[in-house]
């Protein structure tokens, strides 16, 4: 799994690619915590390059979302496809967390 970050207006965008599995997923939470410490509490995770996610990845996402929320921010998602979209849907994460089709939509929210 790789994360590439950039500041875009009020949001910090994390482009996540590769696999978010039991061996790699902790890295996502770490990236989000780095954002939080740097004062970027509103994070958009663009999962367009993410090929795979398991429950370990969901745990990392949920933990990061809770910590960002506790810090006064939030965590939104865009670009889901394939098994990633399927796992978000069946796990209920698609209803639990803000999910947008495109990055433009994710950045346009207030």
């Amino acid at each position: 799994m790789e994360c590439k970050g950039s500041k875009q207006g009020a949001f910090f965008v994390l482009e996540v690619s590769g696999r978010m599995d039991a061996l790699t997923s902790q890295g996502f939470e770490t990236e989000c915590m780095n954002c939080l410490e740097a004062g970027d509490t509103r994070v958009v995770a663009d999962l367009g390059g993410l090929e795979y996610i398991s429950s370990a990845g969901l745990r990392s996402i949920l933990s990061a979302a809770k910590k960002l929320k506790a810090g006064g921010g939030d965590l939104a998602f865009c670009g889901l496809s394939g098994i990633v979209a399927e796992v978000f849907t069946v796990s209920g994460f698609a209803k639990l967390l803000p999910v947008y089709a495109t990055r433009e939509e994710a950045l346009a929210r207030s």
Binding site: D21, A22, L23, E51, Y52, S54, S55, A56, L58, R59, L62, S63, A65, K66, K69, G82, I83, E86, V87, V90, S91, G92, L96, L97
Partner: protein
């Protein structure tokens, strides 16, 4: 090419291009990549639809992590991945495999505590603050694969079927 000996012993026909139809390794995290590679090779051979192949990957990881973490609380044991079908003559588009461990009896399809099941369902509707982190792997198993479980002697045998 003559079939490998273990094929003969179990009566499982060898597949055409992969001579290997079972793999037994120590039940720890380092075994995950090799088991995954083999299962995905089978999935590819079986001609599973593109949207089904990743489910094999996912359910295998969930069940293996479960075994790695819980099957052997004291002494490290083994886990075995075996191909059931397709064998010779089977129709393409489906894959059946088994995961066997010789650890603590555990049926991932029937939690002993009925409250756990109810909790898992309720969990899906819980909001961010209430939502517990556990249980998701078993839920994904039940949602994304056709699974059955048997305790055979001192072994946990989980059969997983994918595709049509």
């Amino acid at each position: 090419m003559p079939p490998a000996q273990d094929n003969k012993a179990t009566g499982t026909p060898a597949t055409a291009s992969s001579g290997q139809n079972r793999l037994r390794l120590p039940a720890h995290q380092e075994s995950l990549p090799r088991l995954r590679e083999l299962a995905l090779a089978w999935a590819h051979q079986a001609g599973l639809p593109n949207d089904v192949e990743p489910r094999v990957d996912l359910v295998l990881e969930e069940m293996l992590m479960n075994i790695f973490h819980y099957a052997y609380p004291s002494e490290l044991g083994d886990v075995e991945l075996a191909l059931l079908s397709p064998g010779q003559g089977d129709s393409p588009g489906r894959l059946s495999l088994t995961l066997t461990d010789w650890g603590v009896p555990f049926d991932p399809l029937a939690p002993e505590d009925p409250g756990l099941e109810a909790g898992l369902e309720a969990n899906l509707d819980a909001d961010l603050d209430d939502r517990a982190l556990g249980g998701m792997g078993l839920f994904l198993l039940r949602t994304l694969a056709k699974a059955s479980y048997a305790r055979l002697g001192d072994a946990n045998v989980l059969t997983l079927a994918f595709g049509a």
